[in-house]
């Protein structure tokens, strides 16, 4: 292997400022073309209901075309719509998002979910919301889609296995649904449950794990504006391997918290025990917040490999959503409550 002479490596500060220029340009282009491209995205019924396009990306940093930008960068910027997250990182391709999945119900390797799930029936599909609520309900996913404005949300997804993606979800805030069922004052946590159906989920024949998949959030976490129930990705309805027809997305937590193919949501008083907590109580905690400072007991979480990117990158605290979620954890020892 030929080593690159150090003289040819861009100094970090130059590299970073280049990234900033590029980012600024991309956002400028994004802002300019947002109105134009929105109708273009509306070709699918899901995205047709988009009212607030990419609320996160809309918070643009200062933008402007900058002298010194390479022609390639300019070209990239002018064709770019909302193709980056708010930190300027490009979206992971649709192909990667739909072929590289952790979904043990369909098999433990990454490619099984896309292959095994071809005949998965995700419609009709009902979700039951109950437990400690005043107005329990059972609702069809199609009605959920109609009832709540579907928004585009570009979120980073950080897997506990130290790889990550940037994914444009379509969905609605979990808070809206929870407000509607009116949790009682005893409700402290939200417990989510996936479909239990070993015929469709062959992985559930494997009794190594305690099926069905269960996940949980503290009520205030669930009410956070970032927490969404996603029904689509890339402007299209979710494919089975991504958790069709409806899944949780909590981007400041490790990917396994974002439970897929939800059939049941219960408001409860006690902290629910998730499937991963049952599988490895010392390794997978209830909170599972992305945190480079708190290692998994057997491996570090300091860095990650962004899919389709060459070099590793440093992992950000709360996956970069620090400003929006750190208030939830004030006074909480994150090392203890991993």
């Amino acid at each position: 292997m030929k080593a690159i002479p150090s003289s040819e490596i861009t100094p970090e500060h130059l590299y970073r400022s280049r990234r900033r220029l590029l980012k600024g340009a991309v956002f400028a282009a994004a802002a300019a073309t947002l109105a134009a491209c929105a109708p273009g995205q509306s070709t699918t019924p899901l995205a047709a209901q988009n009212s607030s396009a990419t609320p996160i990306a809309a918070q643009n940093p200062t933008a402007g075309t900058t002298p010194g930008m390479t022609p390639a960068a300019t070209a990239a910027a002018t064709t770019a719509m909302a193709t980056t997250d708010e930190l300027g990182a490009p979206l992971t391709s649709y192909k990667a998002v739909t072929t590289y999945n952790n979904f043990y119900e369909f098999g433990q390797d990454k490619e099984s979910p896309a292959m095994v799930s071809k005949n998965f029936v995700s419609s009709p599909w009902q979700v039951t919301i109950g437990g400690l609520v005043k107005k329990p309900m059972t609702v069809d996913v199609d009605d959920l889609r109609k009832k709540y404005t579907q928004e585009d949300r570009i979120y980073r997804l950080r897997c506990v296995e130290a790889w990550s993606m940037v994914i444009p979800w379509v969905g609605f805030p979990l808070a809206k649904l929870l407000q509607e069922v009116e949790p009682t004052s005893d409700a402290k946590y939200v417990r989510f449950q996936s479909l239990m159906d070993p015929k469709q989920f062959p992985g559930q024949e494997d009794s190594y794990f305690q099926w069905p998949y269960v996940e949980g959030l503290r009520l205030d976490e669930a009410m956070n504006e970032l927490a969404i129930l996603a029904t689509g990705v890339y402007g299209k309805p979710l494919l089975p391997q991504n958790g069709a027809p409806v899944r949780l997305v909590v981007p400041w937590k490790y990917g396994f918290k974002s439970i897929k193919s939800i059939v049941k949501i219960d408001l409860v008083a006690e902290m629910p025990k998730s499937l991963w907590m049952a599988a490895g109580p010392n390794e997978y905690g209830f909170f599972a917040n992305v945190n480079p400072e708190v290692s998994h007991p057997r491996w570090s979480q300091a860095t990650e490999r962004r899919i389709e990117e060459g070099a590793r990158r440093a992992t950000l605290k709360f996956n970069g959503y620090d400003a929006k979620v750190s208030a939830l954890y004030q006074g909480l020892d994150l090392k203890k409550w991993y």
Partner: protein, 223 residues
């Protein structure tokens, strides 16, 4: 002799050498066919590790194949299999160090300081390096009796590799445990009482086994 290649090799040795390059060929093929998911780095890391562990187990199976089953040719490929294990372990290390981490020592240090499984893996690789370097006939002559003691370090190395594997998986440790079980079995049949007992059994079964083993008497222990 690179990888134990000698000018005069038996057919069996040729076969083992050719077969040992197979996993690499398949890996390279899969890489260029884009069969390694969208995260090929991780796929290469995991697969090369599994291949290296397999070769380590193969090389450790040679001695019992001779002592228990009287399959003498196994001894002729033991060193080569050990060197292939080292070869794939090196590949595994390079995938981690150079490809995954881009030789970024900062990142590696950040991660290594609490990735226990990397530390035990690195330790195992260090042992394998020493064993590979001293695998020549010249070293055997030079080190004399000490050579045998030195090369018994392959046992702890294999144990470390299994621990490395167990610690690196997310939750389902069944495969790593199975590998550990195989290693335990290969080490158990080396225990003198058990080995003697098995040899006697084999002598009692005599004819049948001998026909399988093409009437080779077990070679004297040369390690």
């Amino acid at each position: 002799m690179v990888l134990g290649l000698q000018l005069r090799m038996t057919r069996f040795q040729w076969f083992i050498h050719l077969a040992s390059w197979g996993p690499l060929a398949v890996l390279v093929w899969d890489y260029f066919q884009k069969n390694l998911t969208v995260n090929p780095i991780q796929a290469v890391e995991q697969r090369s590790g599994l291949i290296a562990l397999s070769f380590l187990l193969f090389s450790l199976a040679c001695t019992p194949l001779n002592t228990v089953f009287g399959f003498r040719p196994a001894l002729q490929v033991r060193r080569a299999l050990g060197l292939y294990a080292f070869f794939y372990a090196t590949l595994h290390f390079l995938a981690f160090f150079a490809w995954d981490y881009g030789a970024n020592l900062n990142f590696i240090w950040l991660d290594i300081s609490d990735k226990r499984y990397i530390l035990v893996g690195a330790l195992a690789l260090l042992i394998l390096i020493v064993l590979a370097l001293t695998s020549t006939r010249w070293s055997m002559r030079k080190l004399g009796k000490r050579w045998k003691i030195l090369h018994q370090w392959v046992y702890p190395a294999a144990g470390l590799v299994v621990i490395h594997y167990v610690w690196s998986v997310k939750a389902d440790v069944r495969l790593p445990i199975a590998a550990g079980g195989m290693l335990a079995l290969l080490l158990l049949v080396r225990l003198p009482p058990l080995r003697r007992w098995l040899s006697q059994k084999r002598a009692a079964w005599g004819g049948r086994i001998r026909s399988i083993a093409s009437s080779n008497p077990p070679a004297p222990e040369i390690k």
